[in-house]
Symmetry: C2
Subunit: 328 residues, 2 copies
Protein backbone atom coordinates (compact mmCIF):
# COMPACT_ATOMS: atom_id res chain seq x y z
CA UNK A 1 0.00 0.00 0.00
CA UNK A 2 1.33 3.40 -0.91
CA UNK A 3 0.89 6.73 0.83
CA UNK A 4 -2.59 8.26 0.77
CA UNK A 5 -3.31 11.82 -0.34
CA UNK A 6 -4.12 13.70 2.87
CA UNK A 7 -3.89 17.47 2.41
CA UNK A 8 -4.04 19.68 -0.68
CA UNK A 9 -3.18 23.35 -1.29
CA UNK A 10 -5.34 25.13 -3.85
CA UNK A 11 -4.74 28.42 -5.67
CA UNK A 12 -6.88 30.04 -8.35
CA UNK A 13 -9.16 27.00 -8.46
CA UNK A 14 -6.27 24.63 -9.23
CA UNK A 15 -4.52 22.17 -6.91
CA UNK A 16 -1.00 23.55 -6.51
CA UNK A 17 0.58 21.14 -3.97
CA UNK A 18 -0.34 17.96 -2.12
CA UNK A 19 0.84 16.15 1.00
CA UNK A 20 0.70 12.33 1.02
CA UNK A 21 1.19 10.19 4.07
CA UNK A 22 0.21 7.37 6.39
CA UNK A 23 -2.30 7.64 9.25
CA UNK A 24 -3.46 5.15 11.87
CA UNK A 25 -6.15 5.48 14.54
CA UNK A 26 -5.72 2.60 16.97
CA UNK A 27 -7.28 1.29 20.15
CA UNK A 28 -5.66 -1.17 22.55
CA UNK A 29 -6.62 -4.05 20.24
CA UNK A 30 -5.24 -2.58 17.01
CA UNK A 31 -6.10 -0.49 13.96
CA UNK A 32 -9.52 1.18 14.02
CA UNK A 33 -9.06 3.38 10.93
CA UNK A 34 -6.11 3.88 8.59
CA UNK A 35 -5.08 5.82 5.49
CA UNK A 36 -2.01 4.80 3.50
CA UNK A 37 0.10 1.94 4.83
CA UNK A 38 -0.07 1.26 8.61
CA UNK A 39 3.07 -0.88 8.30
CA UNK A 40 5.26 1.97 7.06
CA UNK A 41 8.40 2.22 9.19
CA UNK A 42 9.04 5.75 10.47
CA UNK A 43 11.16 7.65 12.94
CA UNK A 44 8.72 9.16 15.49
CA UNK A 45 11.29 11.84 16.28
CA UNK A 46 10.00 14.18 19.02
CA UNK A 47 6.47 12.82 18.80
CA UNK A 48 7.52 9.95 21.13
CA UNK A 49 8.96 12.09 23.94
CA UNK A 50 6.26 10.83 26.32
CA UNK A 51 7.58 7.32 25.63
CA UNK A 52 11.18 8.46 26.19
CA UNK A 53 10.02 9.91 29.53
CA UNK A 54 8.54 6.63 30.84
CA UNK A 55 11.80 5.40 32.46
CA UNK A 56 12.18 8.78 34.20
CA UNK A 57 8.87 8.19 36.01
CA UNK A 58 8.85 4.39 36.31
CA UNK A 59 12.36 4.28 37.82
CA UNK A 60 11.29 6.53 40.67
CA UNK A 61 13.81 9.16 39.52
CA UNK A 62 11.12 11.80 39.01
CA UNK A 63 9.67 11.33 42.50
CA UNK A 64 13.12 11.09 44.12
CA UNK A 65 13.79 14.71 43.17
CA UNK A 66 10.19 15.92 43.39
CA UNK A 67 9.46 16.56 39.71
CA UNK A 68 5.98 18.01 39.18
CA UNK A 69 3.63 18.22 36.20
CA UNK A 70 5.52 21.22 34.77
CA UNK A 71 8.78 19.28 34.72
CA UNK A 72 7.12 16.27 33.10
CA UNK A 73 5.38 18.45 30.49
CA UNK A 74 8.78 19.93 29.59
CA UNK A 75 10.31 16.43 29.45
CA UNK A 76 7.61 15.45 26.92
CA UNK A 77 7.75 18.75 25.02
CA UNK A 78 9.55 20.50 22.18
CA UNK A 79 9.56 24.00 23.56
CA UNK A 80 10.04 27.39 21.91
CA UNK A 81 12.96 28.44 24.09
CA UNK A 82 10.89 31.24 25.62
CA UNK A 83 12.06 32.53 29.00
CA UNK A 84 9.16 30.59 30.58
CA UNK A 85 10.74 27.40 29.19
CA UNK A 86 14.41 28.22 29.60
CA UNK A 87 14.06 29.50 33.17
CA UNK A 88 12.22 26.33 34.24
CA UNK A 89 14.76 23.99 32.66
CA UNK A 90 17.66 25.99 34.13
CA UNK A 91 16.09 25.81 37.62
CA UNK A 92 15.50 22.06 37.19
CA UNK A 93 19.12 21.46 36.18
CA UNK A 94 20.71 23.69 38.83
CA UNK A 95 18.50 22.13 41.48
CA UNK A 96 20.17 18.80 40.68
CA UNK A 97 23.65 20.33 40.52
CA UNK A 98 23.84 20.23 36.72
CA UNK A 99 25.04 22.96 34.38
CA UNK A 100 24.35 23.73 30.74
CA UNK A 101 27.53 21.87 29.75
CA UNK A 102 26.09 18.64 31.17
CA UNK A 103 23.46 18.64 28.42
CA UNK A 104 24.19 16.78 25.18
CA UNK A 105 21.45 18.29 22.98
CA UNK A 106 23.47 21.10 21.40
CA UNK A 107 22.38 24.72 21.13
CA UNK A 108 20.19 26.48 18.58
CA UNK A 109 18.43 29.84 18.41
CA UNK A 110 14.98 29.72 20.06
CA UNK A 111 11.72 30.01 18.09
CA UNK A 112 10.24 32.33 20.69
CA UNK A 113 10.24 35.81 19.06
CA UNK A 114 11.11 37.76 22.23
CA UNK A 115 13.97 35.47 23.27
CA UNK A 116 15.19 35.22 19.67
CA UNK A 117 15.26 39.03 19.42
CA UNK A 118 16.97 39.37 22.81
CA UNK A 119 19.79 37.03 21.78
CA UNK A 120 20.20 38.35 18.23
CA UNK A 121 20.17 42.02 19.16
CA UNK A 122 22.58 41.56 22.09
CA UNK A 123 24.97 39.38 20.04
CA UNK A 124 24.42 36.61 22.59
CA UNK A 125 24.66 32.94 21.67
CA UNK A 126 21.93 30.47 22.61
CA UNK A 127 22.69 27.93 25.36
CA UNK A 128 21.82 24.24 25.24
CA UNK A 129 18.81 24.98 27.47
CA UNK A 130 17.41 26.94 24.49
CA UNK A 131 17.35 23.70 22.48
CA UNK A 132 13.71 22.66 22.01
CA UNK A 133 14.64 19.25 23.48
CA UNK A 134 16.29 20.57 26.67
CA UNK A 135 13.37 19.39 28.81
CA UNK A 136 13.72 15.84 27.51
CA UNK A 137 17.46 16.02 28.16
CA UNK A 138 16.89 17.35 31.69
CA UNK A 139 14.77 14.22 32.19
CA UNK A 140 17.57 12.03 30.82
CA UNK A 141 20.06 13.72 33.21
CA UNK A 142 17.66 13.22 36.13
CA UNK A 143 17.43 9.48 35.37
CA UNK A 144 21.20 9.21 34.77
CA UNK A 145 21.84 10.74 38.21
CA UNK A 146 19.25 8.48 39.87
CA UNK A 147 20.93 5.34 38.54
CA UNK A 148 24.48 6.68 38.95
CA UNK A 149 25.28 6.23 35.26
CA UNK A 150 27.96 8.00 33.22
CA UNK A 151 27.75 11.47 31.68
CA UNK A 152 27.33 10.39 28.03
CA UNK A 153 23.63 9.70 28.47
CA UNK A 154 22.77 9.89 24.73
CA UNK A 155 24.99 6.99 23.73
CA UNK A 156 23.04 4.01 22.39
CA UNK A 157 24.36 1.60 25.04
CA UNK A 158 24.02 4.02 27.98
CA UNK A 159 21.63 2.67 30.66
CA UNK A 160 19.30 5.64 30.05
CA UNK A 161 18.92 4.87 26.34
CA UNK A 162 18.70 1.15 26.96
CA UNK A 163 15.78 1.85 29.30
CA UNK A 164 14.19 4.14 26.70
CA UNK A 165 14.52 1.46 24.03
CA UNK A 166 12.98 -1.17 26.31
CA UNK A 167 9.98 1.07 27.05
CA UNK A 168 9.65 2.03 23.37
CA UNK A 169 9.56 -1.60 22.22
CA UNK A 170 7.10 -2.56 24.97
CA UNK A 171 4.55 0.17 24.26
CA UNK A 172 4.80 -0.05 20.46
CA UNK A 173 4.67 -3.84 20.66
CA UNK A 174 7.51 -4.01 18.16
CA UNK A 175 11.23 -4.65 18.08
CA UNK A 176 12.76 -1.39 16.87
CA UNK A 177 13.25 -1.63 13.10
CA UNK A 178 16.40 0.42 13.54
CA UNK A 179 17.57 3.64 15.08
CA UNK A 180 18.89 7.00 13.94
CA UNK A 181 20.61 9.95 15.55
CA UNK A 182 18.06 12.68 16.28
CA UNK A 183 18.64 16.41 15.91
CA UNK A 184 19.31 16.58 19.66
CA UNK A 185 21.86 13.71 19.43
CA UNK A 186 19.68 11.18 21.29
CA UNK A 187 18.95 7.86 19.59
CA UNK A 188 15.53 7.78 17.92
CA UNK A 189 14.10 4.30 17.45
CA UNK A 190 12.08 3.31 14.38
CA UNK A 191 8.63 1.70 14.43
CA UNK A 192 5.59 1.36 12.19
CA UNK A 193 2.89 4.03 12.10
CA UNK A 194 0.61 1.31 13.50
CA UNK A 195 3.03 0.64 16.37
CA UNK A 196 3.24 4.31 17.26
CA UNK A 197 -0.58 4.63 17.23
CA UNK A 198 -0.84 1.50 19.40
CA UNK A 199 1.59 3.07 21.87
CA UNK A 200 -0.56 6.21 22.03
CA UNK A 201 -3.65 4.04 22.62
CA UNK A 202 -1.79 2.61 25.61
CA UNK A 203 -1.42 6.12 27.03
CA UNK A 204 -5.14 6.67 26.35
CA UNK A 205 -6.21 3.57 28.33
CA UNK A 206 -3.44 2.96 30.88
CA UNK A 207 -3.46 -0.46 32.51
CA UNK A 208 -2.99 -0.80 36.27
CA UNK A 209 0.53 -0.96 37.65
CA UNK A 210 3.66 1.16 37.39
CA UNK A 211 3.53 1.51 33.57
CA UNK A 212 -0.08 2.63 33.55
CA UNK A 213 0.49 5.08 36.40
CA UNK A 214 3.41 6.64 34.52
CA UNK A 215 1.40 6.88 31.29
CA UNK A 216 -1.52 8.57 33.09
CA UNK A 217 0.82 10.97 34.90
CA UNK A 218 2.62 12.00 31.69
CA UNK A 219 -0.65 12.48 29.80
CA UNK A 220 -2.04 14.64 32.62
CA UNK A 221 1.15 16.72 32.77
CA UNK A 222 1.01 17.45 29.03
CA UNK A 223 -2.75 18.10 29.05
CA UNK A 224 -2.39 20.50 32.00
CA UNK A 225 0.50 22.49 30.48
CA UNK A 226 0.05 22.93 26.72
CA UNK A 227 2.30 26.01 26.90
CA UNK A 228 5.24 23.91 28.15
CA UNK A 229 4.82 21.20 25.47
CA UNK A 230 5.52 23.68 22.65
CA UNK A 231 4.79 27.41 23.10
CA UNK A 232 2.74 30.41 22.00
CA UNK A 233 1.52 30.12 18.43
CA UNK A 234 2.57 26.49 18.01
CA UNK A 235 0.17 23.80 16.78
CA UNK A 236 0.59 21.44 19.76
CA UNK A 237 -0.17 24.24 22.22
CA UNK A 238 -3.01 25.78 20.21
CA UNK A 239 -4.73 22.44 19.57
CA UNK A 240 -4.42 21.18 23.16
CA UNK A 241 -5.76 24.47 24.54
CA UNK A 242 -8.73 24.25 22.17
CA UNK A 243 -9.42 20.66 23.29
CA UNK A 244 -9.29 21.70 26.95
CA UNK A 245 -7.40 18.68 28.26
CA UNK A 246 -9.56 16.12 26.45
CA UNK A 247 -6.64 15.05 24.25
CA UNK A 248 -2.88 15.47 23.94
CA UNK A 249 -1.19 16.03 20.59
CA UNK A 250 2.57 16.07 19.97
CA UNK A 251 4.57 16.76 16.85
CA UNK A 252 7.89 15.39 15.67
CA UNK A 253 10.34 16.55 13.02
CA UNK A 254 9.79 15.47 9.41
CA UNK A 255 6.01 15.79 9.77
CA UNK A 256 5.07 13.23 12.39
CA UNK A 257 2.11 13.86 14.70
CA UNK A 258 0.50 11.75 17.43
CA UNK A 259 -2.59 12.13 19.57
CA UNK A 260 -3.78 10.52 22.81
CA UNK A 261 -7.58 10.46 23.27
CA UNK A 262 -8.50 8.91 26.66
CA UNK A 263 -12.26 9.50 26.42
CA UNK A 264 -12.36 7.18 23.40
CA UNK A 265 -9.42 4.97 24.31
CA UNK A 266 -7.75 5.90 21.03
CA UNK A 267 -4.24 6.67 19.90
CA UNK A 268 -3.39 8.42 16.62
CA UNK A 269 -0.13 8.50 14.65
CA UNK A 270 0.57 10.06 11.28
CA UNK A 271 3.57 10.69 9.05
CA UNK A 272 3.45 13.01 6.04
CA UNK A 273 5.86 11.34 3.61
CA UNK A 274 7.56 14.52 2.43
CA UNK A 275 8.32 15.79 5.94
CA UNK A 276 6.24 18.94 5.46
CA UNK A 277 5.13 20.29 8.83
CA UNK A 278 2.16 22.26 7.45
CA UNK A 279 0.70 19.00 6.08
CA UNK A 280 1.09 17.17 9.38
CA UNK A 281 -0.45 20.07 11.34
CA UNK A 282 -3.41 20.23 8.94
CA UNK A 283 -3.87 16.43 9.05
CA UNK A 284 -3.86 16.15 12.85
CA UNK A 285 -6.31 19.08 13.01
CA UNK A 286 -8.63 17.27 10.57
CA UNK A 287 -8.37 14.10 12.66
CA UNK A 288 -9.26 15.92 15.89
CA UNK A 289 -12.40 17.24 14.15
CA UNK A 290 -13.06 13.72 12.78
CA UNK A 291 -12.87 12.28 16.31
CA UNK A 292 -15.22 14.94 17.70
CA UNK A 293 -12.62 16.71 19.84
CA UNK A 294 -12.79 19.98 17.90
CA UNK A 295 -15.70 21.76 16.23
CA UNK A 296 -15.15 22.52 12.55
CA UNK A 297 -15.97 26.12 13.49
CA UNK A 298 -13.20 26.38 16.10
CA UNK A 299 -10.74 29.19 15.20
CA UNK A 300 -7.85 26.74 15.64
CA UNK A 301 -9.26 24.63 12.78
CA UNK A 302 -9.27 27.72 10.55
CA UNK A 303 -5.69 28.51 11.60
CA UNK A 304 -4.25 25.09 10.70
CA UNK A 305 -6.60 23.79 8.02
CA UNK A 306 -9.66 25.58 6.70
CA UNK A 307 -8.69 29.24 6.89
CA UNK A 308 -7.81 31.18 3.73
CA UNK A 309 -4.14 31.57 2.76
CA UNK A 310 -3.32 35.27 2.42
CA UNK A 311 -0.42 37.13 0.82
CA UNK A 312 1.71 40.07 1.97
CA UNK A 313 -1.12 42.51 1.25
CA UNK A 314 -3.67 40.36 3.05
CA UNK A 315 -5.39 39.22 -0.13
CA UNK A 316 -6.72 35.66 -0.16
CA UNK A 317 -4.57 33.59 -2.54
CA UNK A 318 -5.79 30.08 -1.81
CA UNK A 319 -6.76 27.48 0.74
CA UNK A 320 -5.90 24.11 2.25
CA UNK A 321 -8.29 21.21 1.84
CA UNK A 322 -8.50 17.64 3.05
CA UNK A 323 -8.09 15.28 0.10
CA UNK A 324 -11.11 13.27 -0.95
CA UNK A 325 -11.49 10.35 1.48
CA UNK A 326 -9.48 11.91 4.30
CA UNK A 327 -10.58 11.73 6.97
CA UNK A 328 -14.18 11.21 5.79
CA UNK B 1 0.99 9.23 -14.98
CA UNK B 2 1.61 10.01 -11.37
CA UNK B 3 4.45 11.91 -9.74
CA UNK B 4 7.86 10.23 -9.76
CA UNK B 5 9.99 9.74 -6.67
CA UNK B 6 12.84 12.26 -7.04
CA UNK B 7 14.64 12.89 -3.75
CA UNK B 8 14.88 10.86 -0.54
CA UNK B 9 16.09 11.70 2.97
CA UNK B 10 17.76 8.85 4.85
CA UNK B 11 18.51 8.48 8.58
CA UNK B 12 20.04 5.52 10.37
CA UNK B 13 19.96 3.45 7.18
CA UNK B 14 16.20 3.94 6.74
CA UNK B 15 14.34 6.20 4.31
CA UNK B 16 12.67 8.83 6.48
CA UNK B 17 11.08 11.20 3.92
CA UNK B 18 10.62 11.42 0.15
CA UNK B 19 9.88 14.15 -2.38
CA UNK B 20 7.83 13.21 -5.45
CA UNK B 21 7.38 15.44 -8.46
CA UNK B 22 7.35 16.08 -12.19
CA UNK B 23 10.40 16.98 -14.28
CA UNK B 24 10.80 17.83 -17.98
CA UNK B 25 13.95 18.49 -20.00
CA UNK B 26 12.91 20.00 -23.31
CA UNK B 27 14.47 21.36 -26.47
CA UNK B 28 12.76 23.60 -29.00
CA UNK B 29 10.99 20.59 -30.50
CA UNK B 30 9.63 19.13 -27.27
CA UNK B 31 10.33 16.71 -24.43
CA UNK B 32 13.84 15.20 -24.39
CA UNK B 33 13.60 13.51 -20.96
CA UNK B 34 10.84 13.43 -18.36
CA UNK B 35 10.04 12.00 -14.92
CA UNK B 36 6.47 11.96 -13.62
CA UNK B 37 3.78 13.54 -15.79
CA UNK B 38 4.90 16.29 -18.22
CA UNK B 39 1.26 17.34 -18.62
CA UNK B 40 0.81 18.24 -14.96
CA UNK B 41 -0.59 21.76 -14.64
CA UNK B 42 1.40 23.93 -12.23
CA UNK B 43 1.82 27.52 -11.16
CA UNK B 44 5.40 28.51 -12.10
CA UNK B 45 5.31 31.19 -9.41
CA UNK B 46 8.59 33.17 -9.38
CA UNK B 47 10.36 30.69 -11.65
CA UNK B 48 8.80 32.47 -14.66
CA UNK B 49 9.97 36.00 -13.81
CA UNK B 50 12.13 36.08 -16.96
CA UNK B 51 8.91 35.47 -18.93
CA UNK B 52 7.11 38.21 -16.98
CA UNK B 53 10.01 40.54 -17.88
CA UNK B 54 9.73 39.99 -21.66
CA UNK B 55 7.22 42.85 -22.25
CA UNK B 56 9.49 45.22 -20.28
CA UNK B 57 12.24 44.64 -22.83
CA UNK B 58 10.21 43.99 -26.01
CA UNK B 59 8.13 47.15 -25.53
CA UNK B 60 11.25 49.31 -25.51
CA UNK B 61 10.43 50.43 -21.97
CA UNK B 62 13.73 49.10 -20.60
CA UNK B 63 15.82 50.95 -23.21
CA UNK B 64 13.72 54.11 -22.92
CA UNK B 65 14.94 54.57 -19.36
CA UNK B 66 18.36 52.97 -19.82
CA UNK B 67 17.92 49.79 -17.78
CA UNK B 68 21.11 47.74 -17.64
CA UNK B 69 21.88 44.09 -16.89
CA UNK B 70 21.66 44.70 -13.13
CA UNK B 71 18.12 46.07 -13.44
CA UNK B 72 17.06 43.18 -15.64
CA UNK B 73 18.61 40.61 -13.28
CA UNK B 74 16.63 42.17 -10.43
CA UNK B 75 13.46 42.11 -12.57
CA UNK B 76 13.97 38.36 -13.10
CA UNK B 77 15.05 37.70 -9.52
CA UNK B 78 13.65 36.85 -6.08
CA UNK B 79 16.15 38.74 -3.98
CA UNK B 80 17.11 38.46 -0.30
CA UNK B 81 16.35 42.08 0.53
CA UNK B 82 20.02 42.75 1.23
CA UNK B 83 21.12 46.40 1.03
CA UNK B 84 22.75 45.58 -2.33
CA UNK B 85 19.26 44.63 -3.60
CA UNK B 86 17.17 47.23 -1.81
CA UNK B 87 19.46 50.16 -2.67
CA UNK B 88 19.42 49.24 -6.38
CA UNK B 89 15.63 48.91 -6.52
CA UNK B 90 15.17 52.17 -4.60
CA UNK B 91 17.50 54.00 -7.02
CA UNK B 92 15.65 52.46 -9.98
CA UNK B 93 12.26 53.59 -8.65
CA UNK B 94 13.32 57.09 -7.58
CA UNK B 95 15.04 57.59 -10.95
CA UNK B 96 11.63 57.14 -12.55
CA UNK B 97 9.87 59.32 -10.00
CA UNK B 98 8.27 56.38 -8.16
CA UNK B 99 8.09 55.84 -4.41
CA UNK B 100 7.71 52.74 -2.27
CA UNK B 101 3.94 53.34 -2.10
CA UNK B 102 3.69 52.92 -5.88
CA UNK B 103 4.64 49.25 -5.49
CA UNK B 104 1.84 46.67 -5.13
CA UNK B 105 3.91 43.73 -3.85
CA UNK B 106 3.45 44.26 -0.12
CA UNK B 107 6.20 44.25 2.48
CA UNK B 108 7.88 41.39 4.31
CA UNK B 109 11.03 41.00 6.40
CA UNK B 110 14.10 40.32 4.25
CA UNK B 111 15.95 37.00 4.25
CA UNK B 112 19.31 38.73 4.26
CA UNK B 113 20.70 38.24 7.81
CA UNK B 114 22.31 41.68 8.13
CA UNK B 115 19.29 43.61 6.87
CA UNK B 116 16.93 41.39 8.88
CA UNK B 117 18.95 42.09 12.03
CA UNK B 118 19.12 45.81 11.28
CA UNK B 119 15.32 46.07 10.95
CA UNK B 120 14.49 43.79 13.88
CA UNK B 121 16.92 45.34 16.32
CA UNK B 122 15.96 48.92 15.42
CA UNK B 123 12.21 48.17 15.57
CA UNK B 124 11.98 49.25 11.94
CA UNK B 125 9.37 47.83 9.56
CA UNK B 126 10.33 46.46 6.14
CA UNK B 127 9.34 48.49 3.07
CA UNK B 128 7.84 47.07 -0.12
CA UNK B 129 11.30 47.29 -1.71
CA UNK B 130 12.36 44.59 0.78
CA UNK B 131 9.84 42.23 -0.83
CA UNK B 132 11.77 39.57 -2.77
CA UNK B 133 9.67 40.48 -5.84
CA UNK B 134 10.37 44.25 -5.74
CA UNK B 135 12.65 44.03 -8.79
CA UNK B 136 9.90 42.38 -10.83
CA UNK B 137 7.47 45.06 -9.67
CA UNK B 138 9.94 47.83 -10.53
CA UNK B 139 9.92 46.32 -14.02
CA UNK B 140 6.11 46.33 -14.07
CA UNK B 141 6.09 50.00 -12.99
CA UNK B 142 8.64 50.85 -15.69
CA UNK B 143 6.44 49.27 -18.37
CA UNK B 144 3.27 50.87 -16.92
CA UNK B 145 4.92 54.29 -17.13
CA UNK B 146 6.17 53.63 -20.68
CA UNK B 147 2.65 52.82 -21.92
CA UNK B 148 0.95 55.46 -19.76
CA UNK B 149 -1.26 52.89 -18.02
CA UNK B 150 -2.98 53.19 -14.62
CA UNK B 151 -1.42 52.63 -11.22
CA UNK B 152 -3.05 49.26 -10.43
CA UNK B 153 -0.56 47.35 -12.55
CA UNK B 154 -1.17 43.95 -10.89
CA UNK B 155 -4.84 43.76 -11.88
CA UNK B 156 -5.54 40.92 -14.31
CA UNK B 157 -6.93 43.22 -17.03
CA UNK B 158 -4.24 45.90 -16.66
CA UNK B 159 -2.25 46.36 -19.91
CA UNK B 160 0.94 45.23 -18.12
CA UNK B 161 -0.58 41.91 -17.05
CA UNK B 162 -2.31 41.45 -20.42
CA UNK B 163 1.11 41.80 -22.06
CA UNK B 164 2.62 39.35 -19.55
CA UNK B 165 -0.11 36.81 -20.25
CA UNK B 166 0.37 37.15 -24.02
CA UNK B 167 4.12 36.54 -23.70
CA UNK B 168 3.56 33.66 -21.26
CA UNK B 169 1.16 31.87 -23.61
CA UNK B 170 3.43 32.44 -26.61
CA UNK B 171 6.61 31.05 -25.02
CA UNK B 172 4.90 28.13 -23.26
CA UNK B 173 2.92 27.36 -26.43
CA UNK B 174 -0.18 26.94 -24.28
CA UNK B 175 -3.32 28.85 -23.41
CA UNK B 176 -3.04 29.50 -19.67
CA UNK B 177 -4.92 26.73 -17.82
CA UNK B 178 -5.93 29.33 -15.26
CA UNK B 179 -4.41 31.95 -13.03
CA UNK B 180 -3.89 32.55 -9.35
CA UNK B 181 -2.91 35.47 -7.16
CA UNK B 182 0.78 35.23 -6.28
CA UNK B 183 2.35 36.11 -2.94
CA UNK B 184 3.32 39.49 -4.39
CA UNK B 185 -0.27 40.11 -5.62
CA UNK B 186 0.59 39.77 -9.33
CA UNK B 187 -1.38 37.25 -11.39
CA UNK B 188 0.48 33.99 -11.89
CA UNK B 189 -0.60 32.01 -14.95
CA UNK B 190 -0.78 28.20 -14.95
CA UNK B 191 0.85 25.93 -17.54
CA UNK B 192 2.09 22.36 -17.82
CA UNK B 193 5.56 21.36 -16.65
CA UNK B 194 6.22 20.57 -20.32
CA UNK B 195 5.10 24.04 -21.38
CA UNK B 196 7.36 25.70 -18.82
CA UNK B 197 10.34 23.59 -19.95
CA UNK B 198 9.56 24.46 -23.58
CA UNK B 199 9.56 28.15 -22.65
CA UNK B 200 12.98 27.77 -21.03
CA UNK B 201 14.26 25.98 -24.16
CA UNK B 202 13.16 29.08 -26.07
CA UNK B 203 15.39 31.22 -23.86
CA UNK B 204 18.21 28.70 -24.45
CA UNK B 205 17.97 28.97 -28.26
CA UNK B 206 16.50 32.40 -28.98
CA UNK B 207 15.16 32.91 -32.50
CA UNK B 208 16.00 36.08 -34.42
CA UNK B 209 13.82 39.14 -33.94
CA UNK B 210 12.61 41.18 -30.98
CA UNK B 211 11.53 38.16 -28.88
CA UNK B 212 14.82 36.37 -29.31
CA UNK B 213 16.82 39.49 -28.55
CA UNK B 214 14.86 40.01 -25.33
CA UNK B 215 15.31 36.37 -24.31
CA UNK B 216 19.06 36.54 -24.91
CA UNK B 217 19.36 39.82 -23.04
CA UNK B 218 17.44 38.53 -19.99
CA UNK B 219 19.45 35.29 -19.90
CA UNK B 220 22.71 37.23 -20.06
CA UNK B 221 21.60 39.62 -17.31
CA UNK B 222 20.74 36.74 -14.95
CA UNK B 223 23.90 34.79 -15.84
CA UNK B 224 26.07 37.87 -15.25
CA UNK B 225 24.51 38.76 -11.87
CA UNK B 226 23.73 35.61 -9.84
CA UNK B 227 23.87 37.73 -6.68
CA UNK B 228 20.95 39.90 -7.86
CA UNK B 229 18.77 36.93 -8.86
CA UNK B 230 18.62 35.64 -5.26
CA UNK B 231 21.43 36.44 -2.80
CA UNK B 232 24.24 35.10 -0.64
CA UNK B 233 23.67 31.52 0.43
CA UNK B 234 20.69 30.96 -1.85
CA UNK B 235 20.48 28.01 -4.26
CA UNK B 236 19.93 30.07 -7.44
CA UNK B 237 22.98 32.23 -6.71
CA UNK B 238 25.21 29.36 -5.54
CA UNK B 239 24.36 27.13 -8.50
CA UNK B 240 24.73 29.87 -11.13
CA UNK B 241 28.08 30.95 -9.69
CA UNK B 242 29.28 27.33 -9.79
CA UNK B 243 28.16 27.02 -13.44
CA UNK B 244 30.00 30.23 -14.36
CA UNK B 245 27.37 31.65 -16.70
CA UNK B 246 26.85 28.41 -18.63
CA UNK B 247 23.28 28.08 -17.33
CA UNK B 248 20.64 30.06 -15.48
CA UNK B 249 18.48 28.49 -12.76
CA UNK B 250 15.50 30.15 -11.07
CA UNK B 251 13.28 28.95 -8.26
CA UNK B 252 9.62 29.59 -7.55
CA UNK B 253 7.49 29.15 -4.45
CA UNK B 254 5.95 25.72 -3.74
CA UNK B 255 9.07 23.94 -5.04
CA UNK B 256 9.27 24.92 -8.70
CA UNK B 257 12.66 25.21 -10.42
CA UNK B 258 13.64 25.98 -13.99
CA UNK B 259 16.94 26.01 -15.88
CA UNK B 260 18.08 27.53 -19.17
CA UNK B 261 21.03 25.73 -20.84
CA UNK B 262 22.06 27.55 -24.07
CA UNK B 263 25.08 25.35 -24.86
CA UNK B 264 22.74 22.37 -25.26
CA UNK B 265 19.65 24.27 -26.35
CA UNK B 266 17.76 22.83 -23.43
CA UNK B 267 15.16 24.09 -20.98
CA UNK B 268 14.34 22.37 -17.66
CA UNK B 269 11.27 22.67 -15.46
CA UNK B 270 10.39 20.77 -12.31
CA UNK B 271 7.72 20.83 -9.62
CA UNK B 272 8.02 18.92 -6.36
CA UNK B 273 4.41 17.98 -5.62
CA UNK B 274 4.53 18.71 -1.89
CA UNK B 275 5.96 22.21 -2.32
CA UNK B 276 9.11 21.37 -0.34
CA UNK B 277 11.92 23.73 -1.35
CA UNK B 278 14.72 21.40 -0.20
CA UNK B 279 13.45 18.75 -2.63
CA UNK B 280 13.35 21.17 -5.56
CA UNK B 281 16.84 22.49 -4.78
CA UNK B 282 18.23 18.96 -4.58
CA UNK B 283 16.47 17.92 -7.80
CA UNK B 284 17.69 20.88 -9.89
CA UNK B 285 21.22 20.27 -8.54
CA UNK B 286 21.01 16.62 -9.62
CA UNK B 287 19.79 17.70 -13.07
CA UNK B 288 22.65 20.17 -13.53
CA UNK B 289 25.09 17.31 -12.79
CA UNK B 290 23.08 15.05 -15.12
CA UNK B 291 23.42 17.62 -17.93
CA UNK B 292 27.15 18.00 -17.36
CA UNK B 293 27.01 21.56 -16.04
CA UNK B 294 28.29 20.68 -12.58
CA UNK B 295 30.84 18.12 -11.43
CA UNK B 296 29.52 15.68 -8.82
CA UNK B 297 32.52 16.78 -6.73
CA UNK B 298 31.57 20.48 -6.78
CA UNK B 299 31.01 21.79 -3.22
CA UNK B 300 27.65 23.23 -4.31
CA UNK B 301 26.46 19.68 -5.11
CA UNK B 302 27.40 18.62 -1.58
CA UNK B 303 25.58 21.65 -0.16
CA UNK B 304 22.26 20.97 -1.87
CA UNK B 305 22.27 17.22 -2.46
CA UNK B 306 25.06 14.85 -1.52
CA UNK B 307 26.50 16.37 1.64
CA UNK B 308 25.78 14.82 5.05
CA UNK B 309 22.95 16.23 7.16
CA UNK B 310 24.31 17.27 10.56
CA UNK B 311 22.61 18.05 13.87
CA UNK B 312 23.15 20.83 16.43
CA UNK B 313 26.36 19.21 17.68
CA UNK B 314 27.68 18.70 14.16
CA UNK B 315 27.14 14.95 14.18
CA UNK B 316 26.09 13.36 10.89
CA UNK B 317 22.46 12.24 11.19
CA UNK B 318 21.64 11.32 7.61
CA UNK B 319 21.81 12.20 3.96
CA UNK B 320 19.81 13.13 0.87
CA UNK B 321 19.80 10.78 -2.11
CA UNK B 322 18.37 10.80 -5.61
CA UNK B 323 15.65 8.18 -5.88
CA UNK B 324 16.36 5.16 -8.10
CA UNK B 325 15.87 6.22 -11.71
CA UNK B 326 16.31 9.95 -11.11
CA UNK B 327 17.98 11.39 -12.97
CA UNK B 328 19.91 8.30 -14.12
Amino acid sequence: MTAARLIELWRGGLRESSHLGHVVISDADGVVEAWGNPGTVIFPRSSCKMIQALPLVESGAADAVGLGPEHLALACGSHNGARSHVDRVEAWLSGLGFEDEDLRCGAHMPRDPQEYRRLLCSDASPCQVHNNCSGKHAGFLTLKRHINAGPEYVELDHPVQRAVRRAFEEVTGETAAGWGLDGCSAPNFACTVEGLARAMAGFARPRSGKRGAAQRRLFEAMAAHPDLVAGEGRACTDLMRAMRGRAVVKTGAEAVFVAIVPERGLGVALKVSDGGTRGAEAAITALMVHLGLLSAEDPVVAKYLTGPIRNWRGFETGEMRCASGFPN
